[in-house]
Symmetry: C2
């Protein structure tokens, strides 16, 4: 059993040894392998970030004999665990005075600020559900134009097949520059027969992964690989108040393994407060019973803190939203909203609709996480499958040659 | 000529078109290709981060005929340039109100804080130059032990060959956790014949690159690849006051292409202020005339701001330092220093020695840059050469088969 861990210093070895021999009550030089996870926790703390307790258990078992583990093997398991995390609990080294390592955060911030940030969002849903308006409301800018209308007469022209249209923008706020790519999918769900209308969308998403992979594995790769991968797919559900349509279920169950799907109920001003709650509950149940996992996925919560925040979000989703790019003056203040004869619905008012919840999640709390999940889960899955496929193809070729 | 750029929105196309036709004074539909870089600057700003003006020129020339470029090709060059940077100057999109994209900095900070940071430092130099003491002074912790002494009698035992000893530590400050690996190289330069004593060091450095590359290209790679690559090699120069030794020059000219070398004059308390200045100047000249590029490398300055900061550093290097882990009370304050009969040299006092300059660069201003240069320059070079070598080997095998 080889360990890839780090080398321990004298004081670390002593601490590890103390814990081991305390557990070795029989003084036999061995301890029950089942005790190992508890001892690791004792040394490193309750929840060391990045360390998978499952893997610790497997490694410990692999280096045990008849359920018992020796001291040297235990040190190996510990060193290995320590290499996975920076939560070293009791094993960390005492610092006598200010060193300045906290400045690394500012160093990273300045570098990231110079480079700027990237975010790619895709909107999917039948025409007339307010996709462009919502994205424009989210970013308070004209980042998406109605794609089904011609310039002159504004008569909707529905394309014969689903199209994919991406437009790039840079928006800036407090000297933070964000390159935002909005991908629209005009024609989705607009036909008599909508079979396979998800295909061009899957293809587009995979093409972006393919492009990134091609650059990542090329010998002379770019220093910064341009990221065109779709970080978030906003799926627009019609505010019927009944249930999801077969196309909704079909699309989401096909796409949830390759992109972060955030379903939303659009044009929610047509639903009363009770209807909205019932509809949302219905949708959550349907997604559940079809095994569709929307963002944020439960199994990806990294720690207790994540779990609390995300469970709270999941209980409120899908958000019922209203978009608007019209500004009204309400007691002297500019308010984004929609005015009707019976009142003004304020888009950003949490009492009126859940637009603010959606915006907070997408932009202010989970934007980086959407990117991280895209990178470490969806893209990695694509990469793994593609490379496995290529290996198989090469092996097949080799065999046919021999 | 294929462009990989982004798709332009209507207002962006209009702005690009306006600039082009303003330059097309002859109304011929073409402009001189030499004008392109200036027009790109006009649209995107003087110094767009990440955009190489050289590449813009090459792309423009490749899509020109007889020194002239057409509008459509110009748009292609622009779109390509825009994909490389987030500095979009006049082409950025207006935002009407607070969106909250500046929060992404805090999102990234929180995620990085959870994960913790890694830094790997190597110390090279003959025994007795105070390597362990200096590293302990840098991090104000016992992170390195005298490796040439036995525990009992403290008589130096010089190993027969150069050894490589890495020890890992986690130090914590204001809830920032840094996993620090200190690699010592006992035996370097301590023998009668020091030929090839740099070999084990080059080997170690390359082994870490190899390990990282192996993980990076493996199909089922880890979510977080443990980084054991050496981010900084502190090279200790003896305070002779004369010049560099042949071994110093040999080592640095062999290693400067694969690791960030920071040369320092150690135990500088033996030099008077004048001797120190002359010695430093002499060393800079010698490094220059031997074509040795130490960190921070001139050709890697990314912008004017970098250049100003780094030129200032380069003019003061190599830093003449004194290390100490002894604390003295000076007017009630604890001071790290060395007391002699003729005075107390205060290690962190900028008037006494340049330890504070070294610490500021290594930890407080350039730690992340040391990691970035290791990743994007040294590791990339290793990766490129290794993959090219493998490609050649495979092709050779194929040919010999056919």
């Amino acid at each position: 059993m080889a360990f890839e861990g780090i080398r321990l210093s004298k004081s670390q070895s002593e601490a590890v040894s103390a814990v081991f021999f305390e557990a070795d009550t029989q003084n036999s030089g061995c301890i029950d392998v089942k005790l190992v996870p508890a001892l690791v926790r004792k040394l490193l703390g309750r929840q060391p970030h990045g360390l998978d307790p499952h893997i610790v258990r497997i490694k410990a078992e692999a280096s045990s004999t008849k359920g018992l583990i020796q001291f040297t093997d235990f040190v190996g398991v510990m060193a290995d665990a320590m290499a996975q995390t920076t939560n070293w609990g009791a094993l960390k080294t005492h610092v006598g005075g200010y060193v300045g390592i906290d400045t690394i955060q500012e160093q990273i911030r300045r570098k990231a600020l110079k480079k700027g940030f990237e975010f790619n969002i895709m909107v999917v849903g039948a025409s007339g559900l307010g996709k462009s308006t919502l994205v424009n409301t989210l970013f308070k800018a004209k980042v998406s134009r109605r794609s089904c209308a011609t310039e002159e007469d504004k008569t909707p022209i529905i394309p014969k097949t689903v199209q994919i249209k991406s437009v790039g923008h840079v928006i800036e706020e407090k000297s933070v520059r964000l390159k935002l790519t909005v991908t629209d999918t005009p024609g989705f769900g607009d036909h008599i027969n909508n079979e396979n209308c998800w295909l061009p969308i899957i293809e587009y998403i995979n093409e972006q992964y393919e492009k990134y992979l091609g650059e990542e594995i090329s010998v002379n790769r770019k220093r910064h690989i341009p990221d065109t991968r779709v970080h978030c797919c906003l799926y627009f559900i019609a505010p019927t108040g009944h249930s999801l349509k077969p196309l909704d279920l079909e699309f989401m169950s096909r796409l949830d393994k390759c992109v972060n799907i955030v379903p939303i109920i659009s044009k929610a001003d047509t639903l009363t407060v009770e209807e909205r709650q019932t509809f949302k509950k219905k949708i959550r149940d349907e997604l559940d019973s079809h095994g569709i996992s929307t963002y944020p996925m439960k199994h990806l919560d990294e720690d207790d803190e994540d779990m609390v925040v995300n469970t709270n979000l999941r209980d409120k989703m899908p958000f019922a939203v209203v978009g608007s790019d019209k500004v009204y003056q309400v007691s002297g203040k500019p308010i984004l909203g929609r005015r009707t004869n019976w009142g003004l619905i304020e888009v950003e008012n949490r009492a009126h609709c859940e637009f603010a919840n959606l915006r907070d999640m997408l932009i202010r709390s989970h934007m980086q996480d959407l990117k991280d999940v895209t990178e470490s889960i969806h893209y990695e899955k694509f990469r793994r499958e593609t490379l496995k496929g290529r290996e198989k193809a090469v092996n097949g070729l080799e065999e046919s040659r021999c």
